[in-house]
């Protein structure tokens, strides 16, 4: 039996069905959207309740602040996105980080004379805490990193370099390449590094090691020592902890 081609009626039926499906689909989507909206409303309400309830904890306890930040990040909320609006009013979280940002800038500027604009995160934390006075809340490394991230909005003046298990904060403009960060990593343990260290440990060409070290001397980040035996060594004040709380 041969198939007859579909008639006009069949085609009409088919497009009718399609239109109905579409309607139904829209209806379901609307429903879901409404549902979602309701859920978000509920969620926002809960988060607000939570934030209000734990407001003091968030402000005072760095550990708790970190967890709260992580929770917000995992659901795509940035409490620091704006200083105006719900979060800032509710928590003063925004202000907290802006204030911290300013203090970080102050400490970095004051110590740049000593360290050439490169400071270890732990030293920075100690100095910022000292400058905030005795009665203010504790500051964690995480707080500092978040505040510095916010400072980037203002331009490329600030950058953070991961060196070993710690961080160095650079507050002078000037591009540190990967090579320079690696040099700092090598120097971290003893506070200094020589050209042969770089050649032997990293299998660098001598020229590459020389260029990296010369650059860091030129930028005022490294000091040269001519009395270190056979070979000159290069020292980084930013890697030598300064245990005083003074800014100079």
């Amino acid at each position: 039996m041969s198939r007859r081609p579909a008639g006009i009626a069949a085609i009409k039926n088919k497009s009718l069905a399609q239109a109905k499906y579409k309607d139904k689909g829209n209806e379901i989507a609307d429903n879901q959207f409404a549902q979602m909206g309701k859920q978000m409303e509920l969620f926002k309400g809960n988060l607000e309740d939570f934030a209000t309830k734990h407001r003091d904890d968030i402000r005072k306890d760095p550990e708790f602040r970190l967890q709260f930040q992580e929770m917000c990040a995992s659901i795509g909320v940035d409490p620091l996105a704006s200083s105006k609006g719900f979060w800032a009013e509710m928590l003063g979280v925004g202000d907290f980080y802006y204030e911290l940002g300013i203090q970080i800038v102050e400490v970095c500027m004051a110590t740049s004379k000593r360290n050439g604009g490169l400071i270890g995160i732990e030293e920075l934390r100690r100095k910022v805490e000292a400058s905030r006075g005795r009665n203010s809340q504790a500051i964690s490394i995480d707080d500092l990193l978040r505040a510095i991230k916010k400072l980037k909005i203002l331009g490329n003046g600030f950058s953070v370099h991961k060196v070993g298990g710690s961080f160095l904060v650079q507050s002078v403009p000037g591009e540190l390449t990967l090579d320079h960060t690696v040099v700092l990593q090598q120097a971290q343990e003893k506070g200094n590094v020589t050209k042969s260290d770089l050649v032997n440990l990293l299998s660098w060409e001598e020229e590459r090691a020389k260029r990296a070290l010369d650059f860091m001397v030129k930028e005022g980040l490294a000091w040269v020592d001519h009395q270190s035996g056979n070979e000159h060594s290069f020292w980084f004040p930013s890697l030598i902890p300064d245990f005083s709380n003074s800014l100079n």
């Binding site: 001397v217 005022g220 000091w223 020592d225 030598i240 300064d242 005083s244």
Partner: protein, 175 residues
Amino acid sequence: MADFDWPWQYKFPPFFTIQPNIETRKKQLEAWCSLVLEYQRHSKQYGLDVTEAQSSELFYNKQLNRKLSLDAIYTVLEELRKRGNLTWKDKTRKSCTLIWRTYAEWGKMIYNWVVAKSMMNTVCTLYELTSGEDSEGQEFHGLDKDVLIQALRTLEAERKAELMEFDGSEGVKFF
């Protein structure tokens, strides 16, 4: 000196190498200048003999096994001279006088003490001023004679004192 508060740089080995980078060297010399002045003030020394200084703890950190070379010491001392904190005793630049307080400041300090002691209008010898029992405990007690005379000359210029010489010894009268 056990109780001298060494700056962090003193324990930083490259501090004892004059730095090639101009900006860094500026900071380094500044730190050296204030270290030398602080050290001299702390140990109450006014004169400095360059040859001796080479082996003194000021320029030689035995713990680190780092020392400032003779050239570098001259660089630091010349920087101090430019700042008005040092005068060479002669042209050979073998020894110098360090001025960690300006002459005028010394003069003022002595004058205030004289007023407090009501020793106005009397003549006292220079020896009395800096080595006598009365001035014990004063900061200018034991002051270098050259510095003292310069300090008194600043007072003389203000007509607050007059230097005089009698029987081979020197004295001063305050008004």
